[in-house]
Symmetry: C2
């Protein structure tokens, strides 16, 4: 347990590129994507409980609050913050920050998405502990994941000078947008770059003060809601739709206010079926991995990923294929084209098939 440490878990995002497994009504974080019997949200909670105990706050859409409560079981009052509508991560995390700032002046908060996979809980805990130590001194701290391959799917953190008094911790020189594989290969060769997993540790007041520097009315609105929770429904729709990275982290890095703590644990945001296949295939030798019922899958000279949905699935003569079976929709693609699944979802929305997305 880390003293005064509060875990904030933004649970949002439709996981469009994981359609038809992930849907607006049944998003990624509520799903058991690893075949462990626990949803990503539950695994996130399991990972944070040893560090924060009951000081865990889940921020989620009003539509999902009941499902979150159901999955997490007995929670203390106030453990779920229901957003009246989706306003992106700055509003979600900022709301939790404003409430914590007012109610727990000594809190240090850490923000951890509900739909990421981290299997090494010990290394995760160690990194968070270090980050909390640094954050207590007023830094906005981000966990920098040691890259294991030149991914073009993640943003990168470029580290600067070492941070005195905290072995391993460094200034953040800049946040870098998702690069090409070529550029990412250069980053790995050069060194000093880590994956930005969007995990921030900070004192709530520090976060809001930083926000106030670039978006003063935004910070003011969040603090007004905390002072008068009854105003949430009224004020919320006026909040900007902006990610915390853009609203605070990037300008704060330029201003020299962000530190990073290195983290060497396995991490994945399972952004698409390619990364899900990678994740599920990690330990095994089998060329085709199955999420669901192994016995339902018949493979003849094929590799890739099959997600079962209750029926027999036969795959013949296709390499790196992705087959996702659900009761009302079926996806067939390849690992290489996994990102393009979002085009299907966009098409379904355009033609009014909201029942399927």
């Amino acid at each position: 347990m880390i003293e005064d440490f509060w875990a904030v878990v933004p649970a949002g995002g439709a996981g469009t590129r994981l359609w038809p497994l992930s849907r607006a009504g049944s998003p990624k974080f509520l799903r058991d994507l690893r075949g462990t019997g626990r949803s990503l949200l539950q695994e996130t909670h399991d990972r944070l409980a040893p560090l924060a105990g009951e000081r865990i706050v889940v921020v989620t859409g009003a539509a999902h609050a009941a499902a979150v409560a159901d999955q997490l079981g007995d929670l203390p009052a106030g453990a779920i913050l229901a957003e009246p509508s989706a306003r992106d991560s700055m509003a979600a995390i900022g709301l939790a920050a404003a409430l914590l700032e007012r109610r727990h002046p000594d809190a240090v908060m850490g923000s951890f998405a509900a739909d990421h996979v981290i299997t090494d809980a010990e290394a995760f805990g160690a990194a968070v502990r270090t980050a909390v130590d640094v954050a207590r001194e007023g830094w906005l701290v981000t966990l920098g994941i040691e890259p294991t391959f030149p991914s073009s799917a993640f943003g990168y953190i470029r580290s600067g000078d070492a941070l005195p008094g905290h072995p391993g911790a460094q200034h953040v020189a800049a946040f870098v947008e998702k690069p090409s594989v070529e550029v990412a290969t250069g980053y790995l060769a050069e060194g000093g770059y880590r994956w930005n997993a969007g995990m921030f540790v900070v004192r709530p007041g520090v976060l809001l003060d930083l926000l106030a520097q670039w978006h003063p009315r935004f910070a003011e609105s969040l603090r007004a809601i905390a002072a008068d929770p009854g105003s949430l429904e009224r004020v919320w729709p006026s909040l900007p739709r902006i990610a915390l990275d853009h609203a605070v982290a990037e300008p704060a890095a330029e201003a020299g206010r962000v530190a990073t703590v290195p983290a060497a644990f396995d991490w994945d945001d399972i952004g698409d079926f390619d990364s899900l296949a990678e994740l599920l295939g990690r330990d095994g030798e089998q060329p085709l991995v199955v999420l669901g019922d192994d016995d339902a899958v018949r493979v003849v000279d094929a590799s890739g990923l099959v997600v079962t949905g209750g029926r027999t699935v036969a795959v013949v003569g296709l390499q790196d294929v992705v087959v996702v079976d659900t009761p009302d929709a079926l996806l067939v693609t390849t690992r290489a084209r996994a990102q393009d699944v979002k085009a299907v979802v966009a098409g379904l929305k355009e033609s009014g098939r909201d029942d399927l997305v």
Copy 2:
């Protein structure tokens, strides 16, 4: 109408390579594989009725007799011969021949599988008329389809000398087993080769006399059943499992007893999903053809064939793919690997999943 012409329609074969669309309990010939609203059996009947009127006999497994009767509507008595068990094509066609020989001594019969596709009914009728003329003189006549590409999926007929008195008709020099594409390419360059579509026209007595030359007990058993139809159940299981091609056509060709009539109509036996895709894609420009509900299919940069089964099917970034959706089983393969679908069926049988095959 062709005088004294009887059409015999063997309706059998599970269509294993069309799994999961075709099943033992719901075989290919009962399915509407062209999206016309008529099953292959119904289309075969439609094609034969102008030539044979009510003189059409369907030979099918006892399990399918009711479905056949249902699809074909009002039929005269004896129009469906139910085989107690599957004994291959010689027994099926031989049974019809033995009954016709006894009841209609002047009959000329033509045998046409229930699951082939022929769209040019006029050219088909003309070829059958010519074949009947030749068959009246005692020949076993086979329709030789003009090949349009060097197929390795069909057997070939090598023609010999012209048949005097029947312009276009020729002796059959030999039947040739399915060749490689290279060999087939040579056949097309050389000329004188036609596809063997297994369509035979012959006087029933001639067929049985030919059979008696190489399989005397087989012919005797068939004639015994015709003399005493009550013996069918008892005698049937003793009949050899052999195709008419091997039992009669091949040795008769060697003996100079087989003639061929050229036929230039489009013909396909839809042996697998590759040929189904070819057939359905013939008129269209669209790279991905759909059998079923077009609106249920979402395509992003893909080509091939999708058979819908009630759900939305999205295909992203795959060329020449085959996706077949049914309520209890799903197949994903490629046109090039369509033949290997039989391995899936074999595997399901091996593991006792007869409910799926």
